[in-house]
């Protein structure tokens, strides 16, 4: 039982080289905030990147930031905030949902899990903001891809390949992200009391307008009470976020009010209260309950989300809320059974997508495919890539199985 805690990329390289030579699998760890996601690992050795830390380059005028992979997300976000900037993809914090503390997580983990939050709808995910990486592959080879500039089509985009690879292809040592200015003003418009299907219609209308809605979520009755310290009350809330310069936000909110005036009662929520709603939607706060009840993250065609949930309810006890205009469905299985086959079958009938079991007891995670199973040709292709980059299966073996 060895834990490597490298502080330099050279030390990461020699740790992995040792593991390759010994054919000794490694668990790749940052802060461990997402350790509960994926098939449980049974590796003897751990590569702990939390000491490989520090921002190595930050040029606000160039909109670029580089950091060692184990740098805390909180540290980076604080630095950016001091300069009026942010990671526009709004990476979420899985910690509390999975029973851990809030505010943990590393920048390497953000890319490895391709995290994003409610602003994903307009701004993209981590994979859309990564500019370059330095990594060590499962062959024990250190290499780089990309660079520090936004526009770059020089060679294959291996940075994206590594996004959402959950540490199974290579170990990040350095990452470079595009950063963006934080909006001067944010206002949320809430339409109250809508049922799921009416909410889907309202969100489609808002997103199809020129109001540049940056986030759209629907919190059904009772779920709404579990965000922002209960400030919304328990009536269903369909929330639309508008961000930008003051005069523009005021104009666009007014346009949305006209557009949705007949949909239901409207409320305008500004400033910190608005931020609190989106932080809690981002971090799945309604399902932070200290339990191990299974929680699914389903990415699917926006207009189909609520229809799938309606059908699912006929066969299982579920709580649900919606982000990304309805295209990101968070489900908590109230009876304790993940119902993986049922859910994935319904997903296929509703336009396809992918369902990830983000919270479940280890026994369920060991027995079920946590990540969406792939069609045979795609699964074979993914396996060939794994073979190319980690032929001895030493990096997080089996985690994505």
């Amino acid at each position: 039982m060895t834990t490597f805690t490298p502080t330099t990329s050279e030390e990461v390289l020699s740790s992995v080289a040792w593991a390759v030579a010994e054919e000794a699998p490694l668990e790749i760890l940052g802060h461990g905030s997402k350790r509960g996601i994926g098939r449980p690992l049974q590796t003897e050795h751990t590569l702990d990147l939390s000491k490989l830390s520090g921002v190595t380059l930050y040029e606000p005028a160039e909109l670029v930031l580089s950091a060692k992979a184990g740098t805390g997300l909180a540290e980076i976000e604080q630095l950016l905030a001091q300069n009026g900037q942010q990671l526009a993809f709004e990476p979420m914090d899985y910690g509390p949902l999975l029973g851990g503390e809030p505010g943990k997580g590393t920048i390497g983990g953000v890319l490895g899990a391709n995290l994003s939050g409610p602003r994903r709808l307009k701004a993209g995910a981590a994979r859309d903001h990564i500019l370059g990486i330095n990594v060590v592959s499962g062959r024990g080879e250190a290499f780089k891809s990309g660079g520090r500039v936004v526009k770059n089509v020089t060679g294959y985009d291996l940075s994206k390949l590594m996004a959402n690879s959950w540490g199974t292809l290579a170990v990040f040592t350095d990452v470079t992200f595009k950063v963006l200015p934080t909006a001067e003003t944010e206002v949320t418009l809430a339409v109250r009391g809508l049922l799921d299907d009416a909410a889907a219609g309202a969100m489609a209308l808002a997103l199809g307008s020129s109001a540049e809605v940056s986030s759209a979520a629907h919190l059904p009755e009772r779920i709404a009470a579990r965000v922002a310290g209960g400030s919304l009350g328990s009536d269903a809330a369909t929330v639309l976020r508008v961000e930008g310069f003051g005069p523009s936000v005021a104009y666009r909110i007014a346009a949305l009010k006209t557009l949705l005036g007949k949909a239901g009662p409207l409320e305008e929520i500004a400033g910190e209260a608005s931020k609190a709603i989106w932080r809690d939607v981002r971090d799945i706060r309604p399902f932070v309950d200290g339990s191990e009840k299974p929680v699914w993250r389903v990415s699917m065609t926006p207009a189909q989300g609520h229809q799938m949930v309606l059908t699912l309810r006929m066969q299982a006890g579920v709580s649900a809320f919606y982000d990304w205009q309805g295209g990101l469905v968070w489900l908590r299985m109230e009876e304790g059974d993940p119902e993986a086959a049922l859910l994935r079958g319904l997903l296929r009938k509703h336009g396809g997508g992918h369902a990830t079991l983000v919270r479940a007891a280890p026994a369920h995670r060991a027995a079920l495919p946590v990540f969406e199973p792939q069609a045979p040709a795609l699964a074979a292709l993914s396996q060939r890539l794994k073979q190319e980059f980690d032929p001895k299966n030493i990096l997080n073996p089996g985690r994505m199985a």
């Binding site: 606000p60 080879e141 290499f143 307008s209 523009s248 336009g351 795609l378 001895k392």
Partner: protein, 498 residues
């Protein structure tokens, strides 16, 4: 061809040409196979016209099943395949090979689905970039990435090249606007990546495919995100006595939290060429001309115009015009959009480069370019996407003067080396293709390049799809796959515990 080594044609394939043509006619009946030399001439080059090669045979499939059968047939017989969309690549990505089937996707030209509630369009790869916007604009929507060849270039080609355009500073590149693709691997297998939902499951192969220059698979369907058109757009036309001031203005605009819809800069030679050509009313006494376009609701645009104007004045602008009408906004753009043909009027030939640099390095790179221009005795005009540091130097030369093309290419290579040296990259949006292939080692070590080739090996282990592009040298996948580390050979008597 000026000294560009392409893979040696396979004598066996060339010998079997008539048999291959006959088999292709069975797979793609009707008009879909072109083998007459004079008819194949139309396909002998793409937008990088300095390089030409008549292919083995041109095949224009109409169905996914045909694409799959063509690729499987070729895979089974070790026949090379070069995919082609509209042939507008500026880097030779669709340059044919003498012994390769040229697989032309232009008959895949239908829009398959338009879904306004989910804001997506599903298109076949041969649909033009502008064709997508045309299909949805009656409802006020558009497809954001707008490469300057958008009238002609295909969406499948956009995926292959990860195309950009003047609006990608605010709205992203192709990679940020594509939700899903269907593609056929070299072995004939059909694979779907993503769809009408966000983010693909598993490894981000959609991200890898986008910008893979036709070396990994043939795209047969594309799902893109469409956006509602901004309510208004207005532009500022700002002139500066020095490029440093123009560059600082760009940095200050971004520093103020403003991300314009488009932000373009031109240097003196480009300004003069454009003004002589289209009479856009550009000032001729400035060293740098900046076009800043702001889009969105009217109140937002008015607010930001005022802010940008103040930043321009603070940076010593000598002229600053603000468009008062749609017609005037378009006139600001007219010169920029005509910059390439305008330069074509002042020089018999020009060679368009495409490096990206960190914005702050602009003055240093422009100074370096002036020195190189003197060294090579060739003029250079610059237009660039200032917001994201993407340069398009146009090197002026005359192909009829012996040796000038070589000189222009050497000049271009030196410019790209300079871009890499200051922290930039070889290509921002045009792709590596054959053009920048041999410069890849300037940016990547052999180990870096090996990893890219490993991706290639997972998709196309026989190197049959578009060989000779992107990689300066091909290494056999079996050789790359070998592990050079074996148990016991690397001595770690004491396990390092840091």
């Amino acid at each position: 061809m000026s000294g560009l080594a392409m893979p040696k044609p396979d004598a066996g394939t060339l010998r079997r040409r008539s048999e291959i043509v006959a088999d292709m006619r069975i797979i793609v009946p009707g008009e879909g196979v072109v083998d007459a030399a004079n008819e194949m001439r139309a396909f002998e080059s793409d937008g990088l016209t300095a390089y030409r090669q008549v292919p083995l045979v041109v095949v224009l499939p109409e169905t996914v099943a045909q694409v799959s059968r063509v690729l499987k047939y070729c895979s089974d017989r070790n026949i090379r395949v070069v995919p082609r969309g509209s042939g507008t690549s500026l880097s030779g990505g669709a340059l044919p090979l003498e012994d390769a089937v040229l697989l032309v996707m232009s008959r895949f030209n239908r829009i398959l689905a338009i879904d306004f509630p989910n804001r997506i369009v599903v298109a076949q790869p041969g649909v033009t970039n502008l064709g997508i916007t045309t299909a949805v604009e009656q409802e006020g929507f558009y497809y954001a990435p707008d490469p300057s060849s958008q009238i002609a270039c295909s969406i499948g080609g956009n995926v292959a090249e990860n195309s950009g355009g003047v609006h990608c500073l605010k709205y992203g590149l192709t990679a940020n606007n594509v939700l899903g693709i269907e593609m056929v691997l070299m072995n004939g297998e059909v694979v779907r990546l993503g769809g009408s939902h966000l983010d693909a499951e598993g490894y981000d192969l959609l991200g890898v495919m986008t910008g893979s220059e036709g070396l990994l698979g043939v795209v047969t369907e594309v799902t893109v995100r469409i956006l509602k058109k901004p309510e208004t757009a207005r532009a500022l036309l700002i002139g500066f006595p020095t490029s440093e001031q123009g560059g600082q203005c760009v940095a200050d605009i971004i520093g103020a939290g403003i991300i314009p819809g488009g932000m373009e800069m031109m240097d003196r030679p480009a300004i003069h060429a454009a003004e002589d050509f289209v009479h856009a009313g550009y000032p001729l006494d400035v060293e740098a001309l900046l076009i800043v376009e702001l889009d969105g609701p009217g109140v937002e645009v008015d607010h930001l115009i005022t802010a940008v104007e103040a930043i321009a004045i603070a940076n010593g602008s000598t002229t600053c015009r603000i468009s008062q009408s749609e017609q005037e906004r378009l006139s600001f753009w007219a010169g920029r959009k005509a910059a390439f043909p305008a330069v074509g009027r002042i020089s018999p030939d020009y060679y368009c480069m495409d490096g990206t640099i960190p914005r702050k390095e602009l003055p240093r790179v422009l100074a370096g370019m002036r020195e190189l221009s003197e060294k090579y005795g060739l003029g250079v005009a610059n237009v660039f996407h200032a917001g994201d540091g993407n340069l398009h130097p146009l090197i002026l030369y005359d192909a009829n003067i012996p040796g000038e093309l070589d000189k222009a290419e050497s000049f271009g290579a030196d410019i790209l080396r300079l871009c890499v040296k200051v922290g930039g990259v070889l290509t921002g949006e045009h792709g590596v293709g054959v053009e920048k292939r041999d410069l890849m080692p300037e940016m990547f070590s052999q180990i870096d390049l090996d990893q890219q080739m490993r991706v290639k090996c997972a998709f196309d282990p026989g190197h049959l799809l578009n060989p000779g592009k992107v990689f300066p040298q091909l290494r056999r996948c079996a050789e790359l796959g070998r592990m050079h580390v074996h148990r016991g050979q690397v001595a770690f008597p004491d396990i390092p515990r840091f």
